[in-house]
């Protein structure tokens, strides 16, 4: 049942696709850098978990889907929400706790929801959104639809019971859910070999009789191909799949752990940064002549502008009025 490793990338890279993937990855990177700046300035509070280093996973996976497919994620979800097509201005306003935010400022960084793009939320309890993904898959099947659900989580969710309960239910009931484990090797500060008896996470797919693959999560096209195969199968056969995307977070767990240096060496971090997914992809596009230096400059300028606009929008957005404390506790 389970497959090992990835087939060679089959995506034909044209300029339009290359520009789109690069722009999305660069936008996430720039957005996260801005968010870190705003956190340092005290404009953003609470926990802030950055996606820097993992951009190829959200962008590659989303590019393999239709707009009406669903996605759900953990608290490190800014990248998934942006990739799904959410407005960066409204995400930044949410991080600022302002009325113009996706949830009127009531969710914050860890709880981005955007119904307009079928983004089912950022969830703060590790593993808890995996059953929700299975439920979304159940509803799609119940309603006779052909959408799929992308469910992102970290290696830290794998030891949780809900990972196993959800994989079992999705396989047992044949639900169109792609479980995408972003293995960045550390659950907060706990290295994967200190947390899992089986560190080859994709192998858990065998246990539940579903296809499983590992993919280089720093290679946006490889992610796109691997997830693309799982998506097509899920759409056609209502079969779930497990994809382990091997990636790395360049920053700490959260802004309270800015360097992430207690539990990993500086050398390791620097070595991994040599495989920056944005640089790898830009270089490839240049080498293959798909994009020019001028194209890269344009992308950079475009995402800088979008991030600046997001901050300006958030700054200008008012705080939620006091009565918002009580709205949405219940749906009237």
């Amino acid at each position: 049942m389970a497959q090992t490793k990835t087939a060679p990338p089959s995506t034909r890279l044209d300029a339009e696709l290359a520009r789109r993937l690069l722009t999305q990855m660069a936008l996430i990177r720039r957005f996260e850098e801005k968010a870190a700046e705003m956190y340092a300035l005290g404009k953003i509070g609470g926990f802030l978990h950055l996606y820097i280093g993992q951009e190829a996973v959200a962008v590659g996976a989303t590019s393999a889907c239709r707009a009406d497919d669903y996605a759900v994620s953990s608290y490190r979800e800014h990248g998934h929400c942006l990739a799904k097509g959410s407005d960066p201005r409204r995400i930044m306003a949410e991080l600022f706790g302002r009325m113009g935010g996706l949830s009127k400022g009531k969710g914050g960084s860890m709880h981005l929801f955007d119904k307009s793009v079928n983004f089912l939320g950022g969830h703060g309890i590790v593993g808890a959104h995996l059953p929700l993904a299975a439920g979304a898959g159940f509803a799609i099947k119940y309603q006779g639809g052909d959408q799929v659900v992308l469910c992102y989580f970290g290696d830290g969710a794998v030891p949780e019971g809900e990972f196993h309960e959800s994989m079992n239910l999705a396989a047992l009931w044949k639900l169109p859910v792609i479980f995408i484990c972003e293995n960045n090797r550390y659950a907060m500060g706990t290295a994967i070999h200190r947390a899992l008896a089986q560190t080859e996470i994709w192998r858990f797919a065998e246990t539940y009789g579903m296809p499983g693959e590992a993919v280089d999560g720093m290679d946006v096209l490889a992610v796109r191909d691997t997830v693309g195969r799982a998506v097509e199968r899920a759409r056609r056969e209502k079969t779930p799949a497990l994809v382990e995307a091997r990636t790395y977070r360049f920053r700490g767990h959260s802004m309270r752990d800015p360097a992430g240096s207690v539990y990993r060496t500086k050398e390791e971090v620097e070595r991994e940064k040599l495989r920056d997914p944005i640089t790898l992809f830009s270089d490839r596009c240049l080498k293959e002549g798909v994009l020019t230096e001028a194209d890269l400059k344009n992308v950079e300028k475009a995402v800088n502008d979008l991030a600046d606009e997001a901050v300006a929008f958030a700054e200008a957005s008012p705080e939620p009025p006091p009565d918002e404390l009580f709205t949405d506790v219940y749906k009237a």
Binding site: F113, A128, A133, A139, N168, Y330
Partner: protein, 326 residues
């Protein structure tokens, strides 16, 4: 009107709502092929098929989360807890997912979910299978919590719960499943959530009680009537939102109150009701409010100890006499 058991009333409510709305489905352990561990879902698999009556493996967190996710996409799941004791395994999904997604999403998503099943003290089921579980839920903003005491209430409140756009915790009583009563036949018979009812009119004292304690209170009231104490009994029916107005209105009339609770008393529902009465009707009271609650110990297995754990009629009667200065 038809006379039926509490169990049958729940079954009728599920059938009627499933016939009315194709988005409603029932999911849980042994709800289908086995016909329900307590037979509440008897015959539903035959009528609605396995697309809408879904047997699950034993994974309360998993299938409750499936209900939450399905509700986000517009379905109206009814999740059965074989007994509510098992709901603790799903507590994170209920408290952190179901109850908060509407708020965290700024109202973009709401969760029309019912989690139902039996709870409360049962007969010699010992510490893990015999406890009042409402305590774990009514503290949580975003949840509604229902405890229906009669067959008619079971039907009318379950139908309202299924039609509600929010997560509703609906805790039945294992010990009441065989209780019979008159139940309206109207498929649109609904009892609004958040509406208490006066079960027995009286003038000397208000007793607040639900589920098994309600039936015990009624028996005590009949006995005390012979002593010339006229007891009014209020059944809150819904614990959250709570109909404090009806409770306070009764206390303003009788000027005295005793609150009953089957579960352990510390930080229980009795504390909340007593606090509400004290805050809102202090000047109307002729005596301090008393609580009669379960003892603060796990439920023992031994029959004699079990009897000591839950409030007895004698204890209830003694409290009423004390508060009435008799």
């Amino acid at each position: 009107m038809s006379v039926m058991t509490y169990r049958e009333a729940l079954n009728v409510a599920l059938r009627e709502e499933m016939r009315r709305d194709p988005r409603v489905f029932v999911m849980g352990e042994e709800v289908g092929l086995y016909d329900g561990a307590y037979k509440v879902t008897q015959g539903l698999l035959k009528e609605f098929g396995d697309k809408r009556i879904i047997d699950t493996p034993i994974c309360e967190s998993g299938f409750t989360g499936v209900g939450v996710g399905a509700a986000m996409l517009g379905l109206r799941p009814v999740i059965e807890m074989m007994t509510f004791n098992f709901s603790i395994l799903a507590l994170d999904q209920i408290v952190n997912s179901a109850a908060k997604i509407c708020y965290m999403s700024g109202g973009q998503y709401n969760i029309p979910l019912v989690v139902r099943g039996p709870g409360g003290p049962a007969a010699q089921l010992a510490a893990q299978h015999s406890q009042s579980m409402e305590t774990y839920f009514y503290h949580v903003p975003g949840l509604k919590v229902v405890r229906p005491s009669t067959p008619a209430d079971a039907k009318g409140l379950l139908k309202s719960a299924i039609r509600d756009d929010n997560p509703v915790i609906f805790i039945e009583a294992e010990t009441l499943y065989a209780v019979k009563g008159e139940v309206p036949d109207d498929p649109d018979f609904l009892i609004p959530l958040g509406q208490a009812v006066i079960r027995r009119e009286g003038t000397d004292i208000t007793v607040v009680a639900y589920m098994g304690m309600l039936y015990r209170a009624i028996e005590v009231a009949e006995e005390l009537a012979k002593e010339g104490i006229s007891v009014e009994i209020v059944d809150p029916r819904t614990l959250r939102p709570m109909d404090a107005d009806t409770i306070i209105g009764s206390v303003r009339k009788t000027h005295r109150a005793v609150v009953l609770e089957a579960g352990a008393g510390f930080a229980g529902m009795g504390s909340e009701i007593a606090a509400q009465i004290t805050e809102k009707a202090f000047d109307d009271l002729d005596a301090p409010v008393e609580r009669v609650t379960g003892e603060n110990a796990p439920m023992p297995y031994a029959k004699n100890l079990e009897l000591l754990k839950t409030p007895s009629k004698a204890k209830i009667a003694a409290a009423i006499r004390r508060v009435c200065n008799r």
